[in-house]
């Protein structure tokens, strides 16, 4: 069940908008943040709140790469696989992360902490190779830096900004 407070927040957002449909992505983000990913329940809630059919919601939700229709870890690591980062990938950061965390693309670590995803060029080509973790930028990366970042996220409680 969606908590009343979140439901009301969303309703306020929709009512304040000139047209409800322009709030689709914002509503999706709020639901995703609450459920941890864009779950089936999120689809149903979004449809009811936005007066769309679940199919229409699905059509949107499966289109975008920052909306996760499957469960993801607490930290979503989006590794840039744009051509500039690729150029600096002799010791591929992507492969390194996968090996280190024992997952493959799209999988979540057993402790539920990390999901690794390849991602379209994130626009930080001046600091390649680069990645985003919950929307926060890291780069230029080396395997040693990756180790450091992962260790820090593992040990400290940290509320990174999620892409809203």
């Amino acid at each position: 069940m969606l908590p009343q407070e979140i439901r009301e927040n969303i309703q306020r957002l929709i009512e304040a908008a000139e047209r409800p449909r322009e709030q689709v992505i914002n509503v999706f983000y709020i639901l995703q943040k609450h459920y941890g990913y864009f779950s089936d329940e999120a689809v149903r809630e979004a449809a009811a709140l936005l007066k769309m059919t679940p199919l229409e919601v699905e059509e949107m939700a499966t289109f975008y790469d920052f909306l996760y229709r499957e469960p993801v870890g607490k930290f979503v690591i989006q590794v840039c696989d744009g051509v500039v980062c690729w150029m600096f990938h002799e010791n591929s950061i992507f492969d390194y992360l996968c090996q280190k965390l024992q997952v493959c693309a799209g999988q979540t670590t057993a402790d539920g902490l990390f999901t690794v995803l390849p991602t379209a060029c994130i626009g930080f080509c001046d600091r390649a190779p680069a990645m985003l973790i919950n929307g926060v930028f890291y780069g230029p990366l080396t395997p040693a830096k990756v180790d450091e970042i992962i260790a820090q996220l593992r040990s400290e409680h940290c509320d990174l900004v999620i892409c809203k």
Partner: protein, 446 residues
Amino acid sequence: MNNQPELVLLKNRRPDRPATIEEYRAGGGYAALAATLGKRSPQEVCQLVLDSGLRGRGGAGFPAGRKWAGVKEDAEFPRYLIPNTDEMEPGTFKDRVLVNADPHLVIEGIILSAYAVSAGKGIFFIRPSYEMDAELIERELEVARDAGFLGGNILGSGFSFDLEVHRSAGRYICGEASAQVNAIMGKRAHPNKEVHMAHQGLWGKPTIVNNVETLSCVPGILRQGPEWFKGLARTESGAGTKLYCVSGRVCKPDVFEMPIGTRLSEILDLAGGMCPGAEFKAVLPGGASTEFMPKKFYDVEMDFEPLKAVGHRLGTGAIIVFDKNTCLVGATLNLIEYFARESCGFCTPCREGLPYIRDLLWRIEIGEGKEEYIPLLREMARHMDRSYCAFAPGAAAPVLGLLNYFEEEIREHLSQKKCPYKGLGIEFRDSLIPMEKTESTAPENS
């Protein structure tokens, strides 16, 4: 030609933080707004921008004044202006730097451009990986509103305009103007070529989509005149300065504001030249949707017309530098992987053709290529012109560049039956799959 070129867009850039509204105003910021709203007619503003020769910086280079003239005086209201900050063209990061350097220059440019087409509302469309910048712009919009530059009856001129931020959730195609309009309307972001945006864009109303760099040129044009703007260029046909973002195998990858038409060699020098030990092989001159240019174009003037004259495109002005040790078949494969994944899937040549091209390149890269793949690649790349929007011809560009200038490199792959460069050119992530048994879920990032 003086040695210290005039900075227009990045003159307030600081190493550590964005310029404040006070700093922007101290340099003449918002003066154009005060001198324009209610004092010059929107038609006059359009004419000045037309006379300035300003061309779109989002990739296509369409003259901004001509685009705006597409909104007729008797066109419907409300009208919309969409500053495009999607910036998903690989290699491009100039809009991020611009917004971060001087947010109020961007905001003033947007308000003035909205005035030119009498738009009442603007929607600042921004990609999710720029969330920090979205928040920055939202904060600075508040500041501009408090200063009376946004909202009802701006500076007592009778002109009202407000701007809001629209957060996207990814996908390259959302940068295409008509797809962007669909995205804002909460529809799946397919392009729409059936309607003319200037007549029936957002919510069926007249809509102008411009790149933020384009819009940020407008305050200068209005303050200092179209002749000044034209005079900034190094080329006869060009106008203004350009944000060139340089990345890849150079010492100092960064964004450089230079007169448009500055030679490639000079821009690469600004970027510190090649990395130690690296030797120049090629550049993509304007992002991933342009063709590779080999050494013989090293001195080309980086402007729309000079590049067109030699069969190339300025695109977004994002210069990606490849060195002699980088496999261009691998690079092209990476690019085509990107395009195949980002295709919106709406039309067949793009949806089916790009995976086909990817497959051919893949086989060549891993040493299973055949001679007949070369003409096949060429044919498939040409077929991309039959697609619905400009995405697929853009995707074909690096393939054509590879074929036109680096066919020899393809042949080396064929004859050696392997990639002559170190790597496989692409990570074999799909073959990584059966690793240690992990109790994990496997979401498909669709």
